[in-house]
């Protein structure tokens, strides 16, 4: 059972309506601190919309989103932008800045938000890159010169640069081969473990049931804007929910 006092994210009766179409429907659930929580669902279930609400990139039509004790609906745009520094995000295709090298990508948030000297930035970024298994020889390569798996790792290093409290993964294994998928999943678990002392919650949006059950603490299933199942990963596969079973057995 999730302790409501130990929550990283609380989604309180959130409804999102776009042009009369309800995308999130009275959504109400809690994401506990320092755990890996995966949100599964079919395409169009509202996963990306939910992610944007957690990030404060979208605000609900009704309801509240509370992240690390802060109600995002009460913040103005400038406060929201500052608050977003609590997040790190690994995008589906890494979203590396293609005009910058791998090292420059990781140094970018440091340049923008810290007062580090260039040497300190270099040291910090190098350590992060090495921690995600990017060798020094690849530091000065452009994203177009890196493989899909390497881009993901650089993207993860960039997301971790400012020590986020909440790490979001948007379809982290989509489009990757099985070996790279395994590597990315291990990286997610390792990242969570390495940052646990500072406090880190990982939220994964995914289609990949197998990987989800291996690496998550909790799994939520979103269908047409509703959470229809939310269980510890070990129990999720045994769910009686027909949709969940259909999704698992696809």
């Amino acid at each position: 059972m999730i302790d409501p006092n130990d929550r990283a994210v609380a989604v309180n009766k959130v409804t999102k309506i776009f042009d009369g179409h309800t995308v999130l429907n009275n959504l109400d659930f809690i994401i506990p601190k320092n755990k890996i929580v995966t949100i599964l669902g079919f395409s169009g279930a509202g996963k990306s919309t939910l992610l944007k609400h957690i990030l404060g990139l979208m605000l609900p039509t009704h309801g509240h989103i509370e992240v690390l004790g802060q109600d995002l609906t009460q913040l103005n745009k400038v406060q929201l932008r500052e608050f977003r520094r609590n997040f790190g995000m690994l995008f589906q295709y890494a979203a590396l800045f293609d005009s910058m090298t791998a090292l420059e990508n990781v140094m970018f948030p440091l340049k923008e938000f810290t007062k580090m000297t260039p040497e300190q930035m270099y040291d910090h970024a190098s350590k992060l890159l090495i921690s995600v298994d990017i060798q020094e020889v690849a530091f000065n390569k452009l994203p177009s010169e890196l493989s899909g798996g390497m881009r993901k790792r650089v993207g993860l290093a960039r997301a971790l640069a400012l020590h986020p409290h909440i790490m979001l993964y948007d379809e982290p294994t989509t489009g990757l081969d099985p070996i790279t998928t395994k590597m990315v999943n291990e990286l997610i678990v390792e990242t969570q473990k390495n940052n646990l002392s500072r406090g880190m919650t990982s939220i994964i949006i995914s289609h990949d049931v197998r990987a989800t059950l291996q690496i998550s603490d909790y799994v939520a299933f979103l269908d047409r804007g509703n959470i229809v199942e939310y269980l510890p990963a070990a129990e999720f596969a045994k769910s009686n929910n027909e949709l969940v079973q259909e999704f698992i057995n696809l």
Partner: protein, 271 residues
């Protein structure tokens, strides 16, 4: 009475009217979005941090990298104008006025307008393509997640750089165009050099130069606003980037020409 044709034709008319109405609403809607985007640009332009390094990078791309094409266009426009004006003026024996007529045309219209069109084609399209491809590959979202405003980081430096570079490029166009005209006029068409220069001095005034200079500032602004706006409007992958780039060039060029009319009608009264 034939009753069967009437409902069909009336439904056809309805559809046509609906289609026109939708197009008008879309156009007004689009204009509103551009005005809104411009408002955001002004808002973010005066908010720190001021990213001068990116502004200078854009100066290099928009200004320095446009020098050759602007210079070449200026030279050949001046040379062609000198020929055309000379053969017309020769008929009424005022060929000595080739210099000032070409210079005035260049200063007031051709230099700012043609530079505007060139920059729209070269830099406006590049802005839309760069920002558009960043948008479809989630790089703009990555900025937002980091707490960096995309308009401030991507649009504002490009718009500042283009607005500052455009009058400089237009002045270069004017300068090289006049050299081209002078060379063709005096060396190929054998107009007396002293006469050419004295007439130029007699008819050209600083206000003529100011007119083109002021216009080019506005052209720089509008071309870059449109280029960046269509970059941010891109959706649907590579096809969307292509469409956004195309729209940026088309609307950038149309805006230069339409704005030129309104600016001319205003500036001729005050300068």
């Amino acid at each position: 009475m034939n009753t069967s044709a009437s409902p069909q034709s009336s439904s056809w008319i309805h559809r046509r009217i609906e289609k026109i109405g939708r197009q008008v609403i879309d156009a007004v809607d689009g204009l509103g979005l551009i005005v809104n985007f411009t408002g955001r640009v002004f808002y973010w332009a005066f908010k720190p941090p001021f990213r001068l390094k990116i502004v200078f990078e854009q100066f290099y791309f928009i200004g320095n990298k446009s020098l050759l094409i602007v210079g070449l266009s200026g030279a050949f426009t001046g040379m062609v104008m000198a020929y055309q004006v000379y053969f017309g003026f020769q008929l009424i024996s005022v060929d000595s006025l080739v210099g000032p007529v070409v210079a005035l045309s260049l200063a007031k219209e051709l230099a700012p307008v043609l530079t505007g069109l060139i920059v729209s084609g070269r830099a406006g399209s590049a802005m839309a393509a760069q920002i558009g491809s960043m948008k479809v590959t989630e790089q703009v979202d990555a900025l937002e997640v980091m707490g960096i405003n995309g308009v401030q980081y991507l649009a504002v430096p490009r718009i500042i750089a283009t607005t500052v570079c455009m009058p400089m490029l237009s002045s270069l166009f004017l300068f090289i165009g006049n050299i081209g005209s002078y060379l063709v006029g005096t060396k190929a068409l054998m107009i007396d050099e002293a006469m050419y220069l004295s007439k130029l001095g007699e008819f050209m005034h600083m206000s003529d130069f100011y007119q083109g200079f002021i216009k080019s500032i506005f052209f720089g602004f509008i071309v870059s606003v449109i280029g960046t706006y269509f970059g941010f409007s891109v959706t649907k992958g590579a096809e969307g980037v292509g469409r956004g780039t195309n729209q940026a060039v088309v609307w950038g060029m149309i805006s230069v020409l339409v704005l030129d009319y309104f600016l001319t009608s205003f500036l001729v009264k005050i300068l």
